[in-house]
């Protein structure tokens, strides 16, 4: 009896370990962390930030973004030149994320430019933004962004 229960225990432990190891593999091909929209008053465009990790073994390209909460969304990068002049560069070809790589959309860098909010947003609110990719199946991912204060980073 003792031997039998010992064997059962070992089997259960092994199965558990296997399940745990299997679970360590990323369940999703891409991972989007800390998606947030920085609230700007007065109807001016807002910025969307997040971290995008590509867990697949081939590159993916973020090519589009859209939201029912905004009239238009563009993928931009802020560029500060050597003379201190700042401008925004539209990412015509989208943003490439290499196999296993992570790209950060953050203040003073890559960001979603969210234009013409269709309703008044409030801090803490959730806003859905659909990100479109090339090299990924399915191509569209709906991401829930949190509205954060303008004074947050």
């Amino acid at each position: 009896m003792k031997i039998l229960s010992g064997i059962v225990l070992v089997i259960v432990l092994l199965a558990g370990a296997l399940w745990w190891v299997a679970d360590m593999q990323p369940a999703e091909p891409i991972e989007i962390d800390n998606p947030r929209v920085r609230l700007v008053p007065g109807g001016a465009p807002m910025a969307g930030y997040f971290t995008l990790a590509n867990h697949t073994d081939s590159p993916v390209r973020l090519v589009s973004a859209s939201s029912e909460a905004f009239g238009h969304v563009m993928i931009h990068r802020t560029v500060v030149s050597a003379d201190g002049s700042a401008r925004m560069a539209h990412q015509d070809e989208g943003v490439l994320v290499g196999a296993g790589e992570t790209v950060e959309f953050k203040p003073k860098g890559l960001h979603l430019m969210l234009m013409r909010a269709r309703r008044e947003l409030e801090v803490g609110e959730a806003v859905e933004i659909v990100l479109g990719f090339e090299g990924l199946e399915p191509a569209e991912h709906t991401v829930v962004f949190t509205v954060v204060p303008v004074t947050s980073s």
């Binding site: 700007v40 910025a47 931009h76 002049s85 700042a86 401008r87 947050s152 980073s153």
Partner: protein
């Protein structure tokens, strides 16, 4: 001395020389640019000149409200830095946001925008002539990209914050690379110097 070590020593010496720039994190512009002078329209709708700020140190930023990324980031850092200062210093410092996009930034738009950051921030804008006069005075520029199909457009502008003392003399350029702590340290030093001058006067 090995070349690598020599190079390292040179870099360290250069670093020291840079720090010796009166110990500012920003770039000192004292004596390099003319005193503050402008005529603009405030967020109240009134025409104002530099006399509006007479007797108060000013931190001024050139931007536009339809700027989703760098403008709010820089203004938020500035406001966070000001909050780290001792209370009397906070009240002394005037914050100014000059929009170089008068077409979209009317008084109400400016007021809504600056209020979101600080009650001590005054929004200003002006005609192209007024804005060109002010930006040229501080050797900076701004410009407009081509309009998109929906009529929206991008604006290029300076990324630095210009700091003036209570007499309107330019003191510092706080570059966009500076963090909250570095900005706070510079502002505190500048405002403390002013307190010292007041004491000795």
């Amino acid at each position: 001395m090995k070349p690598v070590r020599l190079a390292l020593t040179a870099v360290m010496l250069l670093g020291l020389a840079a720090c010796a720039d009166e110990g500012w994190n920003g770039k000192s512009i004292e004596g390099l640019m003319p005193e503050l002078e402008f005529e603009l329209t405030a967020e109240t709708g009134e025409t104002v000149t530099e006399s509006e700020f007479a007797g108060r140190p000013v931190a001024m930023y050139f931007g536009f409200t339809h700027c989703p990324d760098i403008c709010p980031t820089t203004l938020a850092r500035l406001v966070a830095a000001v909050r780290r200062l001792p209370e009397p210093m906070q009240e002394e410092l005037q914050l100014a946001f000059v929009s170089v996009d008068p077409q979209r930034d009317g008084p109400q738009q400016l007021a809504d925008y600056t209020d979101a950051f600080s009650e001590r921030m005054l929004g200003l804008t002006g005609t192209q002539r007024q804005l060109k006069a002010l930006t040229r005075r501080y050797r900076t520029t701004y410009g407009y990209d081509e309009e998109r199909a929906d009529g929206s457009y991008n604006v290029s502008h300076s990324s630095a914050i210009f700091v003036f003392d209570a007499a309107g003399e330019p003191q510092l350029m706080l570059l966009d690379s500076l963090g909250v702590a570095e900005i706070a340290a510079d502002l505190e030093k500048l405002l403390a110097r002013r307190a010292e001058n007041a004491d000795s006067a």
